[in-house]
Symmetry: C2
Subunit: 373 residues, 2 copies
Amino acid sequence: MLAKLLCREGQTVSTEDEAIDPVAAAEAWRQRYGPSKKPTINDVARIAGVSKRTVSRVINKSPLVKDKTRSEIGKIIDIIGFSPDPQARGLAFRHSYLIGMIYDNPNPQYVVNMQQGILNGLKNSGHELVVHPCNRDSDSFLQDARQFVERQKLFGVILTPSVSEDERIVAMLREIGCAYIRIASVALENNANMIVSNDRLGGREAGRHLAKLGHKRIGFISGKPSFRSSHERRLGFEEGLAEHGLELDPKFVREGAYTFQSGLDRGSELLQLDPRPTAIFAANDEMAAGLLQALRVAGLTAPDALSVVGFDDFQIAISVWPRITTVHSPVTRLGELAAEKLLLLKEQETPDTKEGENVPWLVERESSGPPAN
Amino acid sequence: MLAKLLCREGQTVSTEDEAIDPVAAAEAWRQRYGPSKKPTINDVARIAGVSKRTVSRVINKSPLVKDKTRSEIGKIIDIIGFSPDPQARGLAFRHSYLIGMIYDNPNPQYVVNMQQGILNGLKNSGHELVVHPCNRDSDSFLQDARQFVERQKLFGVILTPSVSEDERIVAMLREIGCAYIRIASVALENNANMIVSNDRLGGREAGRHLAKLGHKRIGFISGKPSFRSSHERRLGFEEGLAEHGLELDPKFVREGAYTFQSGLDRGSELLQLDPRPTAIFAANDEMAAGLLQALRVAGLTAPDALSVVGFDDFQIAISVWPRITTVHSPVTRLGELAAEKLLLLKEQETPDTKEGENVPWLVERESSGPPAN
DNA sequence: TTACAAAATGCCACCGGTTACATTGTGGCC
DNA sequence: GGCCACAATGTAACCGGTGGCATTTTGTAA
């Protein structure tokens, strides 16, 4: 009995070696301060009985920490709910945990899908998304962007079309050493910094589709020439036609502006031709919808009078009748990939650049069919 | 000659009083470090020959600084291009310069317009916008939001419908002491924290419009009952009708879901009634577009067979034919007001709460007209 | 000119993390 | 057992600002 007691005491004394049980101490701490107190690294260090430097090492996954120490500190962190202050961390690291999305794409659905994708890719990484719409024609465009990046010491930025095609901003980012990912329809540089949407392949699908349906007089409505995607979609479209021995007749080609109205206007022009085309590929859904409108105005309907194919597969493609056969562009996925790549970029883990991962695909709906006759 | 020299020397000596010319010193500094060096408060202090605390006072517009000192420091700041580091500042102030936008509105155009509006309101304030889409039905909804706010120590958040109508998140924000502005269709609390869009007044316009056109059999397609705006729009609509001695017949009322498809489906149902309504107010444009679709499917056209009025005045309202007569809701402006109010909220300058500032207005287009007969 | 309050400024610690470097513990080897 | 290399941890300064309080300067009345 006495021996047992002594033994116990002995144990108690021996545990002084590692102070008291860290788990108990952490729980006591949480008890004492209530559930809303936000702990700091100092609290963790005090509870664990180590210096804050050691806690810092655990946070940053330094290999220089003994396993036992690491796991104890880890437990404490879990129990008291510590998470390092991004501001303090950023101050020391000389960068923030903010990702900038710089864009000038006027299509709300593109923007929102892209944002959602980026956020998916950022999830649980401790980073947040800061949005920065811009206007490339503004005099202060570059300066604004630079200030945005430098003031917030952004972790990195993601550029979407058409800003992503602007070499000035890329040069600026490189100059100030800001990590960036460019999302574009085609590789514009070293693909470590690129996510490409392969619009050309999508255009090819559209071309194949109309060719296979038997169309011969085929038209195209482009976007503004300053939009690279429009160019790519056209190139691919022509490739798709060429596979079937067809080519685009310049008199059936018009320059639109990615807007509903331009699709309506250019579409009306094309419909007045004699003979008119039996199928038209519009470089985006918005214009395809305008084109359907033009048909209606002209007293015609798709697909019997004219097959219509769009590009993007946004909501509008299924908000009109007939619903638009279109090329689906995985915008959300692109955003996700961009975010993931950006994070890897900073970890020096040169991200493996799988080629052709994002390929748009055709979605057949009611707006296209075989030509009349 | 000698005197002159002495005089010069004398001046030089006398200026030791205020060290050397601050402007010259600042320019020399900028020369020495090149254009890309980012100055800190210490650089400014050193150049000005004062302590950083004084510079800090200038930055924060403390009245305790002599005018001369203030203007000298101001000049130096301009010349070397100093702007305080938000992270360091935030660390000391225990908050960041980030505004969160928490939203679950599925309409991309609403989201983008709102973001743009908020950014307009934030312009030149040194604050940035961090976006946080969420899902109110998720188990981790509250926890995610809380972590978002606390981790980034957000300056404040802006809530849009329908999160803005969720009392749980508001309670949480209040508990952790985070400033917030709720944007909603109607005042839900003390209006220091509210921006109201007065959807009821917009609905009233819609009601008046159809009543004035002479319609008697008038229908309504609502949004989900969980959306307050839908309720408000309906109330206003009924008021507008009532002004002309009309009331909404329950058999002409259907519950939609703010989606194109629901407009199409509920619209088809209403069109099959006999007698069918001669006018229908859809609680948003998306459903109004679906309703137009339903008309087309039924072989009918607007406005002769049916007048259609929508709400929002988003792109889709002019991307269909006939273009939709709709109630314009100034979403961008609401965002701007919310941002401004949030900034004022923190400055304690209780923002003056002009009532009825944001009133939706009717935009007449081709989808509405007098009833047949 | 002195006295003294008020205005203007400086000093130092601190916000919550980090890096550079010093120090202590540990195991292997002779 | 003693020496040494290396693993594990601690110390102090720093990132770029801020608060509290002490100190100096200024303006004004006696």
